[in-house]
Symmetry: none
Subunit: 215 residues, 2 copies
Amino acid sequence: MEINIAIFEDNKLIREALQTIINGTPGFRCTGAFANVNQVLADVEFSRPDVVLMDIEMPGRNGIDATKLITDNVPTVKVLIQTVFNDNDKIFKALCAGASGYILKSDSPLKMLQALEDVYKGGAAMSPSIAQKVMQFFVRQNVILVQPEETDFDLSTREKEILALMMEGCNYRDIADKAFISYETVRTHIKHIYKKLHVASRSEAILKARQQGIA
Amino acid sequence: MEINIAIFEDNKLIREALQTIINGTPGFRCTGAFANVNQVLADVEFSRPDVVLMDIEMPGRNGIDATKLITDNVPTVKVLIQTVFNDNDKIFKALCAGASGYILKSDSPLKMLQALEDVYKGGAAMSPSIAQKVMQFFVRQNVILVQPEETDFDLSTREKEILALMMEGCNYRDIADKAFISYETVRTHIKHIYKKLHVASRSEAILKARQQGIA
DNA sequence: GGGAAAATACCGCAATGGGGGATTTTAAGG
DNA sequence: CCTTAAAATCCCCCATTGCGGTATTTTCCC
């Protein structure tokens, strides 16, 4: 089975070079090569790639926004960012936008193919210098990570279940039905959850739960 | 110039295998192999490695603490963590401890050597599945938020004022008084704001406003 | 067996969110 | 000048949510 790749790259020479490399490698196939991301969703829809190789610097709409559009709307498609620069801001924005990897154009074609394969397999890929910046980020953020006040919120099993249902978008009534308890009991549980999480609304609770990895 | 490696690994078989691989590869040399990290600083001092290959699971003192000791006291020495597990907690702790890389024991010797070289050159190395967890961390934590659609939400001047008051913690009544408009008008404005921001509650709106730097 | 914590359940009230409709003011352009 | 669109203003209705109580039963640990 071949890995289908779609390329977004404004430079014609590079675009065609990438296409040639990919199509010339057994196991890879380029199903689309586009010079901009103005119709990125339609392009992805059309070329049905497994992995998108995305240039981050492009005239007009930029690659990070396009990445977010793809991961939001077609989450099964992985995005591998390719760039000439490696400044922190772009890296972190790309990662937050849901990219599965971030490599440099200066990397060898072999490494690029390896990265495409890693990403296709569900992993992630980073050039060493990129990974290093990510590492540094963790070291710097150390304080925040190591002492997040209380990571244990003492939620009971039942409360975690209710919280999980809340995170699925259920309202009180839905939760009551799914948990086989009364509407009022749901309200009670949720009140307790809010107290324990020190929040005051559904959305805050869900945010905190996601950040802390509860439930 | 050869890259000098020190190994910390409690399993004798693995330790010697690693030693053999490293010494059998041109450009690499094993200058020390230790079964525990009880005298890690002395061992590092003695073997003068460029890169330490550190097993994270060891009886007695663990690899993460040892990593922190090394990076704190001998910052020129890089540490590459090697582990059988890839659970989130250990990864992030290791990264925070200053590790330069994190690879799995299931990776091939070739990849390990590549990782050692990447780390030696000042980059960092991660197995794809590790990198993937790091990526997820960024997405989940909303470290930096990227909004593709439009960073400008077309909020009118008045709506931004109302939003600012909301962010100060005012309720409908307070906002009405401070903005010299009626309670109902405040509600109308806020409804419009929610629509434009694509959110459905006060807390989400405030979160988004903060992240996007609106108002 | 007794006590603490959890799970269950109910009531009432205030605040919030979402739907609709409506008027006036302002801005912009033909 | 007039038309039109957007912004700003106001009102009503209703469901959901958050928060304050209270209370009973179940579960679990000492």
